[in-house]
Amino acid sequence: MSESGTHPPDGSQSGGQELNCEESLARVYEYLDGELDTGEHDAVRLHLEKCRRCYPHFDFERLFLDYVHELGSEQEARPGLKDRVLEMLEAETR
């Protein structure tokens, strides 16, 4: 992992102080997933408000996560499954 921004988040530092680009990018997913504590969340947000390099990167990651989330997992089951489930329930009730 050579490029900055590709480091898995280590979540080591606690909030309050200002973060640099690398520190902010390391927290991109925790930030977007709403998994940072308030102090760290604010520290990242403060950085994003003034960094033109990080802001679009975060925006992109948000689009990506929204896209994947909207895929959802619901999928029509083949009709045979419902029949087998009904048979199973009937057998179990007997």
Binding site: T6, F60, F64, L65, E74, L81, R84, T93
Partner: protein
């Protein structure tokens, strides 16, 4: 067959089986697109739910209750399959060199309006088990890091790093698709 038992079954069928597609979809994604395995999982989960039906409080979220049973059923089965855990195996999965290529080529994320959903689903299905399960639970199902950690019995830090790597791998795959489609050069 006694009347109450029959009534109970009818009640279960009308309350629970409307969620069959949701259960099947989750089972299919968790199992990486393995249809027979997904169907087995659904049957096993439905049977467990039926046996526990007296403990379900009518009026609470039946779908969420069923999905929880299915997730637990899957994880238990997954653990049995992986009788000897091989954490080294997936930690060694190398980061693709193009993990940031998608962002660099398409910073505005226009690809997400063009890519075919089935291709992305195939890419998710193709992730190594531990990565895929984390993505399905977190990104498709919306579970918190803590919930994923408890379910998979791994530290929260491991959830973070699996999600990070899984998402980067997906992006690398999407980049490859986008190039194949001629959408990106």
């Amino acid at each position: 067959m006694s009347v109450p038992a029959e009534q109970r079954r009818r009640e279960f069928e009308s309350e629970a089986l409307v969620h069959l597609d949701a259960l099947y979809g989750l089972a299919l994604r968790l199992s990486g697109g393995d249809e027979p395995r997904a169907e087995d999982l659904v049957q096993e989960a439905v049977l467990k739910a039926y046996r526990a039906w007296d403990r379900f409080e009518v009026g609470t979220n039946c779908r969420a209750w069923l999905m929880t049973i299915l997730r637990n059923t899957f994880i238990n089965e997954f653990r049995r399959r992986k009788a000897r855990p091989t954490p080294v195996e997936f930690e060694q999965v190398a980061e693709r060199p193009s993990s940031e290529a998608l962002y660099e080529a398409d910073p505005e994320g226009r690809i997400f309006d063009h890519i075919i959903d089935d291709q992305v689903i195939a890419a998710i299905d193709g992730l190594p088990d531990e990565f895929r399960i984390a993505v399905v639970l977190s990104d498709l199902e919306g579970l918190s890091y803590q919930e994923v950690a408890e379910l998979m019995e791994i530290p929260v830090g491991t959830v973070k790093s699996r999600l990070f790597r899984a998402r980067k791998r997906l992006q690398a795959q999407l980049y490859d698709y986008a190039v194949e489609m001629g959408y990106l050069r």
